[in-house]
Symmetry: C2
Subunit: 279 residues, 2 copies
């Protein structure tokens, strides 16, 4: 999906909501456990109930890998379903935090972008910057595909290394500056946690035009209003993720309906933020 298609989607849906499919077999409604593939059934119901309200979905690979081949099958079925049923309607993010030496990152890129190789095709993948340019570049060789580089994350451990400073700038700022040069706002985004909303003002000075993927609203305590205030740019430039807050609104048969209610609540707030930003 191109940047202009993504922006159109945001304007049309009045939303910059991303739903994180952190789909955990031990947390989904018990009645689904009779299904042949409970996690796929759960994902399908969530996506069907929320697709008009969201612009992106983000399966979190860990929750699938933890179940081995069965989990991998649920993941593959989910992305195939979304690509078939909602083509062009949902921006799809492989949340995998990958990154390794060049010849290995080439293989990770095939895993998420080359359907003829892996059976899966996403629009974007999250990547870890620690190993530098050649660990990231192989993902950028796919036209129309995106990478989303970890910059400032939403967890407590973000303090351990991301604020390490050379006196002029902190590591996350160094990551933004350096890695922005490897791609463009047409094929790169950055992860900036909502728990760091006040930092968004500093970050916007470095990457005014890029989209930011913002996790941490809801269960992790970040504020959507603050994210909008400090992070919105003239193209919106935000994808705000919610996972647990939407997925597990109910463990009853009404789980999809309750997920939809929570997505409506967030979409309404987002429509207000977009309007106040003149979008």
């Amino acid at each position: 999906m191109t940047r202009s298609d993504l922006i159109s989607l945001i304007r049309r849906k009045r939303s910059f909501l991303c739903i994180g499919l952190d789909s955990d077999l031990s947390k989904i409604p018990p009645h689904l456990l009779d299904d042949e593939d409970p996690v796929f059934a759960f994902n399908k119901a969530i996506v069907d109930a929320t697709h008009e309200l969201t612009v992106a979905i983000k399966p979190n690979f860990a929750f699938y890998e933890s179940r081995g081949i069965l989990g991998f099958a649920s993941l593959e079925k989910t992305i195939r379903y979304v690509n078939d049923r909602y083509s062009g309607e949902l921006f799809t993010i492989a949340d995998a935090k990958r990154g390794d030496i060049g010849n290995t990152s080439e293989q990770y890129a095939r895993a998420v972008f080359d359907i003829t190789s892996s059976g899966m095709e996403f629009d974007a993948v999250t990547v870890a910057p620690y190993m530098g340019e050649d660990s990231v570049k192989p993902f950028l060789s796919y036209p129309g595909k995106w990478i989303i580089v970890l910059a400032l994350t939403s967890n407590k451990g973000a303090m351990d290394f991301q604020f390490f400073s050379d006196g002029k700038r902190r590591l996350f700022e160094q990551v933004l500056i350096r890695s922005a040069a490897w791609g463009s706002p047409e094929n790169m985004m950055f992860v900036v946690g909502a728990t760091q909303a006040a930092m968004l003002a500093d970050i916007r000075k470095i990457v005014p035009g890029h989209f930011l993927l913002v996790p941490g609203v809801g269960a992790q305590g970040g504020s959507l209003e603050e994210v909008g205030r400090f992070g919105l740019n003239h193209d919106c430039g935000l994808l705000v993720n919610s996972s647990r807050g939407i997925l597990y609104s109910s463990t009853g048969k009404d789980f999809a309906e309750k997920a939809r209610s929570e997505a409506i609540r967030m979409q309404n707030e987002m429509a207000g933020i977009l309007a106040s930003g003149g979008l």
Copy 2:
């Protein structure tokens, strides 16, 4: 596997060789392509031919994920085979470079350590440090299991962020110092690329007792002699990886035999290094 078991293995086999199973369908001998699972057949032949000469094997997850479910099946079969056939004889490393917020790293840990959940169980997993303590700790909650933290990698991109300095120390040194406090030499190792062999002297000042996993000998240009000279400690403290240099010594029917010859060559050199270190 405990640290003392690993050290015993090194002393007995006179080797600190790790074979990286970067098994690529497009590079394995063509006659294997008729097999039901060519990559598993390849891995099995390589491990059977080299197990007496090596102390560790390291499947590189990217090469399996790139083939989707089929690749995942080859990976699972490989680790099951090694655990069944060579239990206690080979230290097994999931080379996956994982790391995410706590609840997600818990799932990644299940993927590589909890056989009842994922069908796979390794002795160790490689982890990326960028997201800090809570992204790493969930992997340490499994008794007898290890994490191997990226410190200084073997690729050109290592220069981009790992040498970022606060004036007192560089990021990779900060990673060594901080993360060493999250575990102990009994459950943590660090990745240090062989292309950075001269840095091993500095690194040994910070982590004198830890094992180091050293990639980059062979195809990437690192020198085994230098790694031994700067990195060996009183328990050996080294696992030196070779992937392409061993795996693809031949594309003929003699591939396993040729791989064995290359492993013998490395094991001989390692036996010399161990002897000269009084081990």
